[in-house]
Symmetry: C5
Subunit: 94 residues, 5 copies
């Protein structure tokens, strides 16, 4: 999974019927310092995430395992809102 | 999913029979400002999208979940025509 | 799917038995002007494509949906020989 | 699979219910000399790996084949703690 | 599929039980001239490949279709030892 920040929405009326009622959010991947990375992904929100929140995004066929996405044509889903990210860099290099 | 713009078509007569009748469109990924990115993907249209329209493209096995693609040898499908993209950049950096 | 040009073959006698009788071709991805891109992919031919022909290549689990590839350990398949590629660049930038 | 080193954890309380009780670790890919590479991946620990340990990470739908991940919305899992990596570079170039 | 050369092994005792008895090899991707490329992949050997041999590597869910990998948490498998690679570059550019 990757970590991203929600920065927008995509609105589409002419779409696959299994997308009806689904919220399509634009997620910007961030690095572990919280800085924006390049690129974006359009993901289905399945946990009620809010704007600018940091979220966990799952990709590929596993996006269809997220709540409500069974058999849906989606390859990316938001599956968690992040409380904290704890990094423990290794002091002794290998 | 990614966002792209339809820029062309691929015509093939000698092909897998499950592709018969399917429209194979060339989609150029775009960034969130609508500018063309590099590369392209050939995707099956499943929503009746038109030339130059901005569309949502799903990749991987989920492309087979799009309308009419069940068990088809396709890894990319257009699943929505985009009305609007709304970006709300975060004013407070984290 | 991507577009490529067939540039070679891979011969292997010590291999998974489900690859017996399959033609493994080397495909060079090309851009929309027909120019070679970097890299290559080894794909199973499922449509009788010939050397130097432009072909459509499907990747991932969908390669197993191509004719004759059911349950085979292949992640890339040639599913069509291309007749024409028609590009209609957008004159009005967005 | 790739090789990485565990450098952190992600804590999320508002999440898909199938993630309950799962440990989400941040893994930094390393090269074969043990040096950190760029990027990271959030992976479910399924083998009781510890901080800074070198681990094997599986991606895609196969992450759901790891112990306890059946039908879970995860695309990355830690499936082994590495004892040794043995490299035998080829002396005769081909 | 990609082509690589076997350059090492990964030993892990604390691992998913479905990896027991499987040989995890480190494969360096090579280009069509046989030169090493950057990066590496850890793949399960399913054909009895030897050190420094050139092999065909399948990725993604199809790695589970290789002999003995059914339902295993692996995303990369060696499915063939290469005898020859024949390249026929196109003399007439398109």
């Amino acid at each position: 999974m990757i970590i991203g920040r929600i920065i927008g929405t995509v609105v589409s009326s002419q779409k696959d019927e299994r997308l009806l009622g689904k919220k399509l959010l634009i997620v910007r991947p961030i690095d572990l310092d919280g800085k924006d990375q390049s690129g974006y992904v359009v993901a289905v929100d399945t946990v009620g995430a809010g704007f600018h929140e940091r979220v966990i995004v799952v990709g590929g066929s596993s996006a269809r395992m997220a709540e409500g996405n069974k058999d849906c044509p989606v390859d990316s889903a938001i599956i968690g809102v992040i409380d904290t990210i704890d990094i423990e860099p290794d002091e002794t290099s290998r």
